[in-house]
């Protein structure tokens, strides 16, 4: 227990170091781009608008706006880092890539009888996932004495033992020994470089080819952007596992919309009831206050036990995710009504019903919209998580299925689409808000 805790703390410490380095790099690039941009000279942009006349800007939040040039440069930088780290073909530069292609090395061996020989080993390193995995042709020349030429093929970043002795004269007898690689002496545990990698002699005396691994990331961990794009086009055309890309996304959206709709349908009236009636507030208060902090994700197992993995379970889960948020939003909307407005309405002859429909309902719309935005965000996150656990279709289902086959590019596409749609939902909600409650924040 204590040891585990210590391990976690040590890991966290190294994470702090790692994250600091990543941030430092990113911010350094940001600073560099900033100076380059200013050096190119866009001073005139700073001279526009009333804000430019402010002398106090540091600390004046209203004087700080998102610099769009910085936003674009930041996103581009992320893509460039992605490309550099993965050795993207789209960029003229990248970290050193792993060696691929054909190369060769020469070895010299001596057998038990003391006879010598020299032969060539043709090496082919093919790209990961390439179709062309056949060994290269054996070189016709360069062999002499007991040794006979060999050939070997292996994928990039991998190592392979080459049994050069297997076809040599006396190679299977005791006393056979490889003495030199490319003219340099070698012994067990030592290594000799050759173009594109090195040859290592293992303790057993066998040779192992180790092509240069480079410093770029393997596609398994992070595929380059162009691979993701190609996969996206393929998914767009063919879908994955028989389900179209957009069909997956639509199913996720449909679940969210239905669950959210149910949450609003029951949550808003319940919230109003809690805001207007002491008995009902007392009745529901403990339930709401207890359920509100329970993350909807914690309900997934229960919902699966109750409803199975079908649509009913997912919609129920999203309903529960949205319900408490909408109740609290509607309740806050009712509590937030200025008592003067209520008094004014009664003094003007409004009945209770009229007060509810004409004053309390519109007055609580801004709060309800805020809650709806939060609820939508939570529902979107919850649906993806629920699909990760069990679903037949959906964005979350797609990425969890792809991850089982280590199709990292599909996982990335799924994540990007989930992010874009989550953002899109929020933008739509904000647009609806400014259209429907233009008085928000201006009362």
């Amino acid at each position: 227990m204590l040891q585990e805790l210590v391990d976690v703390l040590i890991t966290t410490f190294w994470m702090v170091i790692g994250i600091s380095l990543i941030f430092a790099l990113f911010i350094a690039i940001s600073g560099l781009v900033y100076f380059v941009w200013n050096f190119i000279g866009n001073k005139r942009e700073q001279m526009r608008g009333y804000g430019s006349l402010k002398t106090v800007t540091f600390g004046d939040e209203s004087a700080v706006t998102a610099n769009r040039v910085a936003s674009i440069a930041g996103v581009v930088t992320v893509f460039v880092i992605w490309g550099v780290a993965t050795g993207s073909a789209l960029l003229p530069f990248s970290l050193p890539k792993p060696f691929t292609g054909t190369t060769q090395f020469e070895y010299t061996a001596v057998n038990a009888a003391g006879e010598q020989g020299t032969a060539q080993v043709a090496v082919k390193v093919f790209k990961f996932g390439s179709e062309d995995t056949a060994a290269p042709e054996v070189l016709s020349e360069g062999a002499s004495g007991i040794a006979i030429n060999d050939t070997v093929a292996l994928p990039e970043r991998r190592r392979k033992i080459v049994r050069v002795q297997s076809n040599d004269e006396g190679g299977k007898e005791k006393g056979y020994k490889i003495t030199q690689i490319n003219g340099q002496p070698i012994e067990p545990g030592a290594a000799v470089p050759f173009p594109g990698g090195k040859v290592v002699m293992l303790a057993s005396g066998s040779l192992q080819v180790r092509p240069e691994e480079g410093y770029t990331m393997e596609a398994l961990y992070l595929p380059p952007p162009e691979q993701v794009w190609t996969r996206f086009l393929q998914l767009n055309a063919e879908g994955y596992q028989g389900v179209g890309l957009w069909e997956n996304v639509m199913w996720s959206l449909i679940r969210v919309v239905l669950g959210f709709f149910l949450g609003c349908l029951f949550g808003i009236p319940l919230g109003f009831a809690m805001g207007l009636n002491s008995w009902l507030r007392g009745w529901f208060d403990p339930i709401v206050e207890f359920m509100r902090p329970v993350p909807p994700l914690a309900l997934i197992p229960l919902v699966i036990i109750w409803f199975g993995i079908g649509e009913q379970g997912k919609v129920s889960l999203l309903f529960l995710a949205a319900l408490w948020i909408m109740i609290i939003g509607a309740r806050a909307g009712v509590s937030g009504v200025n008592i003067s407005k209520v008094h004014a309405a009664y003094s003007l002859g409004a009945s209770k019903r009229q007060l509810l429909m004409r004053v309390i309902l519109p007055n609580s719309l801004p709060e309800i919209f805020t809650a709806a935005r939060v609820a939508m965000g939570v529902c979107w996150g919850t649906v993806v998580a629920a699909e990760l656990v069990a679903a037949e279709k959906g964005a979350g289902k797609m990425i969890i299925a792809a991850s089982k086959f280590q199709l990292t590019d599909i996982v990335l596409i799924g994540i990007i689409i989930i992010g874009v749609i989550g953002f899109g939902i929020d933008v739509l909600m904000r647009m609806a808000e400014s259209k429907l409650v233009p008085w928000k924040g201006r009362g």
Binding site: K341, G349, V437
Partner: protein, 267 residues
């Protein structure tokens, strides 16, 4: 008999920590139809409590209020109220706000439109009917509040420091408007303020209240409201009695405040 009768009103709040506060004690007022009354007093003298009781938002713990021989039991459109600020409905435009009362009572739309147009003219907002509330300045918003109250044609208009949040210039204009409306409509108006000048200008009758317990301390009959109708209020302030009365009331309130402070300090 007609008019608003405040008969021996008392209001005692029980404090949650024990004990009680007498916000009002034995307050009686006899307000005739068409009277313009201003109520003045230091903070904590119960003037807002009195207004809330008159409006029917609070039930007094003792005494009774009758309007035109009917006891006041709750809010009603016969007693309109103009609030300090924030009581307009931001989700409606100016015309809808003004027409709210008649609409609630089922008045035909044509009649509402006619009434709204007329009132927009009275309060000087002819071109602002379609504006939203948040597009108006504070002074304009209070004009809308006044018009909204008048749209219901109430017997009594209660004003709870309606001009308190306005700047001096706008305030003066609004004071003239209140006087105009009082004269034109002949409504009973009860105005609460803590500006002594405003109380003098907008009160045929001025009620000074005293705190702890909240009670009526002194009443004045003043000529300034009558003089002020249609006149320049700055001229009214030059009237020989204006300054004298103002100083007298200021001293009175000053003494009350001193007394409260003294009591708090020794407590």
């Amino acid at each position: 008999m007609s008019g608003l009768i405040v008969d021996d009103i008392s209001m005692t709040f029980e404090l949650p920590a024990g004990g009680s506060v007498e916000a009002l004690k034995n307050v009686s007022l006899d307000i005739k139809e068409g009277e313009l009354i201003s109520v003045l007093g230091p903070s904590g003298c119960g003037k807002t409590t009195l207004l809330n009781i008159l409006a029917g938002f609070l039930a007094p713990t003792g005494g009774e209020i009758t309007l035109n021989e009917h006891p006041v039991k709750g809010p009603s459109s016969e007693r309109g109220m103009v609030f300090q600020q924030g009581a307009l409905f931001e989700w409606m435009n100016v015309s809808k706000n003004i027409g709210f009362g008649p609409q609630m009572r089922g008045t035909p739309q044509a009649e509402i439109d006619r009434r709204v147009t007329e009132l927009l003219g009275i309060v000087g907002l002819q071109d602002f009917g379609q504006k939203m509330i948040y597009e108006l300045s504070g002074g304009m918003q209070q004009r809308v509040a006044l018009a909204r109250c008048l749209a219901n044609d109430p017997d009594v208009i209660l004003m709870d420091e309606p001009l308190g949040a306005l700047d001096a210039l706008t305030r003066e204009k609004m004071q003239s408007l209140v006087l105009d409306i009082w004269k034109k409509t002949g409504k009973t108006i009860i105005l609460i303020t803590h500006s002594v000048e405003e109380a003098l200008l907008l009160g045929e009758r001025l009620v000074v209240m005293a705190p702890r317990p909240g009670r009526i301390h002194k009443q004045y009959r003043l000529p300034f409201a009558e003089i002020g109708v249609g006149a320049d209020l700055r001229v009214v302030k030059q009237h020989k009695d204006f300054g004298k009365t103002r100083d007298e009331i200021l001293n009175m309130i000053w003494d009350m405040e001193e007394e409260i402070m003294g009591r708090t300090e020794t407590a």
